[in-house]
């Protein structure tokens, strides 16, 4: 099982093209979106646009790499029959899911760090050392949730449907979680629902730290809950997958 985790990480590092775009895309997007932002605080928060988008783009970028990356790769591996071959070994479902999450985490970490560097170097964001560290680690660990979701979607949907379904989930999660624009400008009832969406809790980890506090326990609990559900679902789908393609 450890060999599989190791191999998945090696593969991710060897896949230079995917690595390059996954790592470059989030900081580039951050600089474009937060480019014209001034230092007026976002309504309902103490954060300005530069700060807000640094965290939400780090989260968005990490999610892009792990969610879409996993969906696509798994769809391809199922099609090629590698998963069938793997199912003829004693590998437990959790081993497979852990390996996929580990590989995704290898890609998401540098992309997160680059967004934070862009924030500090280009946008002049100033935070305490512990805040930088907490944001990086929190955003990285949070990306595991979406890596697990990627595995689950890769199994739930097959063939040509994978791309549209994963894109739909990806955009819906990004929008409803407030990664593209602060939800504080939307009606209260929308905000009440959004609180339970994993991406919202995900970005909230970082914004809580930026505001000078610790991440809220509620957000951590929500993310852990989703991680458990997605990972268990993915492991179960992997073991029961009996489709040929």
């Amino acid at each position: 099982m450890t060999t599989l985790i190791k191999l998945e990480i090696i593969r991710a590092l060897r896949n230079k093209k995917f690595m390059f775009f996954s790592v470059i895309y989030p900081p580039a997007l951050y600089l474009i979106i937060a480019g014209g932002a001034d230092s007026t605080p976002i309504p309902g928060t103490k954060l300005d646009m530069g700060l807000y988008y640094m965290v939400s783009m780090a989260a968005f970028g990490a999610m892009t790499a792990v969610l879409l990356g996993n969906c696509e790769q798994i769809a391809k591996e199922r099609e090629k029959g590698w998963v069938r071959q793997l199912r003829l070994t004693a590998l437990p479902g959790r081993g497979y899911v852990s390996a996929k999450i580990a590989a995704a985490a290898t890609v998401s970490l540098p992309s997160i760090v680059l967004v934070l560097i862009a924030g500090a170097a280009v946008k002049g964001v100033r935070l305490d050392a512990w805040q930088w560290a907490a944001i990086a680690v929190g955003t990285w660990l949070g990306s595991f949730v979406f890596a697990a979701l990627g595995v689950a979607i890769g199994y739930l949907v097959s063939g040509d449907a994978v791309r549209p379904v994963s894109m739909l989930c990806y955009f819906a999660l990004a929008f409803c979680g407030g990664l593209w624009m602060p939800l504080t400008i939307l009606p209260q009832w929308v905000q009440n629902i959004a609180e339970w969406i994993p991406t919202h809790a995900y970005a909230a980890l970082g914004t809580a730290v930026e505001a000078g506090g610790a991440p809220h326990m509620k957000d951590i609990a929500i993310l852990l809950g989703y991680l458990l559900v997605f990972a268990a679902g993915a492991a179960w789908l992997y073991r029961k997958d009996t489709r040929k393609a």
């Binding site: 060999t3 593969r11 591996e77 090629k80 069938r84 071959q85 003829l88 070994t89 004693a90 009996t242």
Partner: protein, 322 residues
Amino acid sequence: MTTTATTAATAHRAAPAPVVSFQQINKSYGAVRAVADMNLELYPGETVALLGPNGAGKSSTLDLLLGLRTPDSGSLTLFGTTPQRAIEQGKVGAMLQSGGLMDGVKVRELVGLARDLHPRAYPLDRILETAGITDIADRMVGKLSGGQEQRVRFALATAGANDLIVLDEPTTGMDVSARQTFWGAMRRQADEGRTVLFATHYLEEADAIADRVIVLQRGRVLADGTSAEIKAKAGARRVTFDLDGTIDRDTLGALPFLTSLEVSGRTVRIQSQDADATVHAVYGLGLYPHNLEVAGLGLEQAFIALTTASDATATTAEEAAR
């Protein structure tokens, strides 16, 4: 009737518990019955070829056996337990026709993974050597030729001390010499006392390696026995001779034990279930055959004879039912 000759199974009646047991197994995909009422038992140490035309149910049978699919009805056991359990215990190694390989890794790394996942793995060098891939161990998996990929798959299937090895069309994509080498590796597995089950449509492969041949047709077992028995069952002799003068097809067609008749020019080609009696009857007609040859039928002709006969029976039955 063309159903099961259970000679091989009978010979093993006193033998230990079966490695594989199919009892009344059924599997349909929509309206297609891929496997129909299949009863099958494999015993320790047997080398068994699963033979059949495309769509006969070979891959479906192997998928069910390996637990990649679940039967609609019937009971299926491997080593007395479920396929899943047997695989987890490291008793089964399999090489799938549709089994892809992980890309982005080296051959050595992939075989290392198979070792790590096997409860009773062999040393890496030994696996590479057995499969004949020592020289390509440092190549990337995505850059291999079809035949090399097949050998890597074989390495994955033989990474540990399995009791049963299942191979689905293992020599597809190999040239003649690669195939010969591969057969050698397969035979060594059998010599070590393993049960080997392989699906193939290369009849020479079944003939050369298997000590038991199971012929599938439309998801059913059409024949089961040694390759000699299969040949005998199909009406196993071919009689060829030349005749002078005009050849009367109808007279020849009425010869006893005849299963097929072909006349081209002066040459007559006959397949017969009892060549002695057929030839005797030729003389009895007052004919004088030149260049008379009587030869055994290859497994290939036997196979064609068996499957077409079964198709004809099935068609007649369908027409009668209408």
